[in-house]
């Protein structure tokens, strides 16, 4: 297995569904990071068969809520002195701003440039969110 040094201080995003790692990497804008970051793909996993993993060697303030939208099963480990000091379980947030796109072609958000369109969770099971402008449900 590919060896990546463990980190002293930072964040490990674990149990990412294989293939979703890059999406999260981009969503957190890690491709623009000037500190050490690693995206590791297709790591063998007991739970998932294969998983992706992201390691961030920095204390940064990330909006973890948006990760729930991409993959609600991931876990986030906060590391200090090479030890996990905190585990965050993400879940689908009740409201999201600026991450989702409305799938209704008749919606005003498809033609106007609107930042921060707000979506409200209407169904946790089907992962459906309602657009604040046209009330149409969009599933993720």
């Amino acid at each position: 297995m590919l060896n990546i040094d463990s980190i002293k201080k930072g964040i490990v995003i674990d149990h990412i569904k294989a293939g979703c790692g890059y999406k999260i990497f981009k969503e957190l804008k890690l491709h623009k990071a000037d500190y050490t970051v690693a995206l590791i793909k297709n790591v063998p996993s007991k739970q998932l068969g294969k998983k992706d993993l992201i390691k961030i060697e920095n204390e940064i303030d990330l909006d973890f809520k948006v990760l729930g939208i991409i993959d609600p099963n991931i876990t986030i480990n906060i590391i200090k002195n090479e030890e996990i000091i905190d585990k965050i379980n993400v879940k689908l947030p009740k409201k999201v701003k600026g991450t989702l796109k409305c799938k209704n072609p008749r919606c005003v958000t498809t033609v106007e440039n609107i930042e921060d369109v707000e979506f409200t969770l209407v169904n946790r099971e089907t992962k459906e969110y309602k657009c604040e402008y046209c009330d149409t449900n969009t599933s993720i």
């Binding site: 008749r106 498809t110 604040e132 402008y133 046209c134």
Partner: protein, 307 residues
Amino acid sequence: MLKGRHLIEPKDFSLEELDEIFTLAEEIIENPRDYLEVCKGKLLGSLFYEPSTRTRFSFEAAMLRLGGQVVGFSEAGSSSVSKGESISDTIKTVGCYTDIAVMRHPKEGAPKLASKNSDIPVINAGDGGHQHPTQTLTDLLTIKALKKDLSNHTIGLCGDLMFGRTVHSLVKAMSRYENIKFVFISPPELKIPDYIKNELKDNNYYETSDIEAAIEDLDILYMTRVQRERFLNEEEYLRLKNSYILNNEKLKNAKEDMIIMHPLPRVNEIHTEVDNDKRAVYFKQARYGMFVRMALIMKLLGVDKNA
């Protein structure tokens, strides 16, 4: 307090606030002369990004009858909008010149977007297939004025119940009042969607495809048209269009004081022979539409006859 507010969808206003508007509308109907100048010096911006002559006339007539004036455009092609100006820039500019704006737009949510960027009240005059709150206000005032109360009625809704925006809004709005029963009359292909029914109690409605069997139960019969653009093929459209035409024969067993409503324009779903029946109120309904818009404009501007 309604002054300075927007009307984007019917539930923006509480039942008490709606009642305030209806009470004022009924006062205007009683004494229209008292209101000839209440909006003197006020300007309505009429922003119609798609043509809707009926709705635009109703708003413009309402403002002019209050002594106010109107500026605006009646289709996007003739305005700066066609040069690609954003809705938010347009409303900010319009807000510099006018006191209140009314917006019709083909895109769903456009008036809401305008309201978020506006310093003046914005009224949604229809956004695609989404909301048309002043039609709902019109329907409610008609019922209140002609049936004396918004509670304790059995309302039959007939025609295209699947796509009919007007019907969906009316059902939602009426279900906020006490002891309302709905009868959904439609061909099986055009039944009312589940998400509307899910918000009603089971014993508050029934569905049928037989208008003649249902008609004797009704205090109010709300007819709608079946729109051509909803159908993929012409045959299907023609078959369904003709399936629920109201005529004198079908009205035989209806109550004496039932009222027949229709948002207009009609195609052929109400035979013209019904127009002479005293129960036919659809032209009156259009008039109530103007009065309710007069009351709405006054409330949002915060003007009254004693000011």
